[in-house]
């Protein structure tokens, strides 16, 4: 009876979002039967949404093993899954039903997913002494398996321990596929290096202007939902996710009224992650330049947008608040353009995540350089929030990566 009563969910699911899987995350956040958890240790089902880049496959195996057994793996639109995982594939439409089914099978013990990494500890725990002590010494040696952190001089002159970590590609709070390699001293990033994935969705050939603009609205609102969640407002993030699945101009206004209050989201984002105007000019991320009033917009030169009025970009300030206000503005404008565009098509679209003239690799490099400059020397929480305000193409819709935008 406990089983049947709880079999209606909510099933705790950890979403590992790959390239183009953001729509899945928003659909699940808005769903009642699924509980998105922020740690694999609290999950029952590991959901892989979107393509898995090659370099991120073994971290995904690590995350899979950190989900406690019994567990299940479900994949949605995931190309490049590692061979060791045997996921249950699902479409976006039947996803919640599949998750519920897997969840109830796990509850009664009928379903499990084996460990994929070898169970032995690669780092031998014991030292040379009879009680496991000794070895090469505490400072810089390998006592009990892992080394202790070594010291380094901090920015304020104190020499204390520095942890070198990679906040990996599958950490919730960071954009999809983003790796943050840090030298963490206390909670300040004394050294930081950001890497964005060099593969991602593209739009090829002739695409309808209306579809591009609707994709823009969905993508920008999706970014806003994730940022709101990371900023400590999960209930409002749910509201924004619901809007991101099906945007309307009235919905955008309503969300703006709720978020842009003095004691609302700006409390978390004001003054965080400041970027100068010079940093964002020419970075290949159209919306970022426009957030500081720099008019880099491929749509102005595009014949297909003739007659459609594009608003001049305003300088919203270089912090995270300015960036998410730009997202709201551009989403509202995109919906208006989609309404007015009718049947126009274009072959050089201004993508939501940047200009189509820049290649994916170049954009990833420029994006990473910009993000590294923004988070170096910042406190960890501010750094993560800054990165959440600088998402990549991988945080776009599944449909985009399949180039399902009709010609």
């Amino acid at each position: 009876m406990a089983v049947t009563w709880t079999s209606a969910g909510p099933v705790p699911v950890f979403v590992a979002t790959g390239a183009g899987g953001a729509a899945v995350r928003h659909a699940l956040r808005a769903a009642d039967e699924v509980d998105l958890v922020r740690s694999p240790r609290r999950a029952c089902v590991l959901l892989v949404a979107g393509d898995v880049p090659t370099g991120d496959r073994s971290p995904l195996l690590q995350v899979h093993d950190q989900v406690p057994r019994p567990r299940g793996v479900v994949a949605v639109g995931a190309r490049g899954m590692p061979a060791e995982l045997a996921p249950i594939t699902s479409s976006l439409g039947g996803l919640v039903a599949t998750i519920l089914e897997v969840g109830s099978q796990i509850l009664v013990g009928e379903h499990d997913s084996d460990d994929v990494l070898p169970a032995t500890n690669p780092v031998e725990w014991r030292g040379v002494g009879p009680n496991g002590q000794g070895g090469e010494g505490m400072m810089g040696g390998v006592p009990y398996g892992r080394a202790m952190a070594m010291t380094a001089e901090g920015s304020d002159g104190l020499t204390l321990d520095r942890l070198y970590l990679t906040l990996g590609p599958w950490l919730p709070g960071l954009p999809s596929g983003c790796r943050l390699e840090v030298g963490l001293q206390g909670d300040v990033l004394e050294e930081a290096s950001v890497a964005y994935p060099t593969t991602g969705p593209t739009l090829a050939g002739q695409v309808r202007v209306a579809s591009v603009e609707q994709l823009r609205a969905r993508t920008l609102l999706g970014w806003l939902a994730d940022l709101t969640d990371t900023a400590g407002l999960p209930a409002l993030a749910r509201r924004v996710s619901r809007l991101a699945l099906d945007p309307t101009p009235e919905g955008v206004d309503a969300v703006r009224r709720r978020l842009d209050r003095r004691w609302g989201l700006p409390v978390a984002t004001d003054g965080v992650g400041h970027l100068e105007r010079d940093d964002v000019t020419g970075c290949g991320l159209g919306w970022l330049a426009r957030s500081r009033g720099v008019d880099e917009d491929a749509r102005r030169d595009d014949r297909a947008y003739d007659g459609l009025e594009l608003a001049a970009p305003t300088d919203r300030g270089g912090d995270v608040t300015g960036r998410w206000r730009t997202w709201l503005d551009e989403a509202a404008e995109a919906l208006r353009l989609a309404e007015a565009a009718e049947d126009r098509t274009t072959d050089r679209p201004e993508l939501p995540w940047g200009s189509a003239a820049v290649t994916v690799e170049d954009r990833a490099v420029a994006h990473a350089a910009l993000a590294t400059r923004a988070v170096s020397g910042a406190e960890l929480g501010r750094a993560v929030l800054t990165l959440a305000s600088l998402p990549s193409a991988c945080d776009a819709d599944v449909a985009a990566s399949r180039a399902e935008v009709p010609a």
Partner: protein, 311 residues
């Protein structure tokens, strides 16, 4: 001094029931208010869903990390609930009904806040995980900043009562509630309450920006124990706010404990709503604002209260 009129065993039962009931009520309020803020079509069903979520999470297996400090990891939620029970013990639940209404109630309350800080720190430190450790140290910074606010606000409440016992503080509100004659007290104490339970805008140790910090490595029953502890503490703070500012068990017609329960539910709803409405304050900004704005405000509050008392 109002003597503890409850037999020790009865007191234990009452305390346990209030803590458990308070945790359930706060959890239900959190789910319903969250669903309303999220724009769900039927917010009232969120309470049942939250209960199912708790049961499902409770049945999942727990986990352990490499070389954790297991004893302290297990002790941390228990210690947190223990200090919540201690705080509840010094609050008057009705006229002459208290588990242990000592003469130095305010001092015990301050000690509870410090011990709560230690419990949360241990929860993050014991896991031997980098993000959990960051969460633990953040909470120490946050806690030291609002501890003084709590002290000043409670002392200002003690001035008219000429006593540090919470029972006397309630008695001193016979004529006028403290929320009216000490208006700055309630907002400042709200900051303290949200801070000690690291709720909403002050959820720094378990924040989403460090992937839930101290709770990152925690799963299964241990996670449920931690969340129940937090909600129990929020319930205790709601009761404390009602006792110190809203006249506690004072009120016409209805019996004292019922009034206290009603006021506490209203206050708890307010806390929960703030949690869903205000974004998480960045760490360094909170420390700066607490020391340069809130603490001087509490000095002003104390000065004004002192002057009013002498009139």
């Amino acid at each position: 001094m109002t003597p503890a009129t409850l037999h020790p065993l009865l007191a234990v039962v009452v305390g346990g029931l209030v803590l458990a009931g308070g945790a359930v009520v706060v959890g239900a309020l959190d789910a319903v208010v969250g669903a309303a803020v999220a724009g769900d079509p039927r917010p009232a069903t969120a309470g049942v869903r939250a209960w199912r979520r708790v049961v499902l999470a409770w049945r999942r297996p727990g986990t352990v990390t490499e070389r954790p400090d297991l004893v302290l990891w297990v002790v941390a939620p228990a210690a947190y609930v223990g200090v919540a029970a201690l705080a509840l013990a010094v609050l008057p639940l009705g006229d002459g009904i208290a588990i242990a209404d000592v003469r130095t109630g305010i001092v015990v309350f301050g000690a509870v806040e410090v011990l709560a800080m230690v419990a949360v720190f241990l929860h993050g430190w014991a896991a031997n995980s980098a993000l959990a450790l960051v969460g633990a140290y953040r909470f120490v910074a946050e806690s030291l900043s609002f501890l003084l606010l709590s002290m000043f606000v409670l002392i200002a409440a003690a001035l008219p009562a000429e006593s540090m016992a919470f029972g006397e503080i309630v008695a001193s509100q016979q004529g006028l509630w403290n929320v009216v004659r000490q208006p700055l007290g309630l907002p400042l104490f709200t900051v303290v309450a949200l801070g000690t339970t690291f709720w909403g805008p002050l959820n720094l140790p378990d924040g989403a920006d460090i992937a839930t910090g101290t709770s990152l490595e925690v799963g299964g029953p241990a996670y449920i124990a931690w969340q129940v502890a937090r909600r129990a503490m929020l319930a205790v703070y709601a009761i404390a706010t009602s006792v110190v500012f809203l006249g506690g068990h004072l009120g016409p017609v209805l019996p004292g404990p019922v009034w206290l329960a009603l006021k506490s539910v209203v206050v708890a709803s307010g806390f929960v709503w703030l949690g869903h409405r205000v974004g998480r304050v960045p760490m360094d900004r909170f420390v700066r604002v607490a020391w340069t704005v809130l603490l001087p405000l509490s000095f002003l509050h104390l000065a004004v209260t002192g002057a009013v008392v002498l009139l």
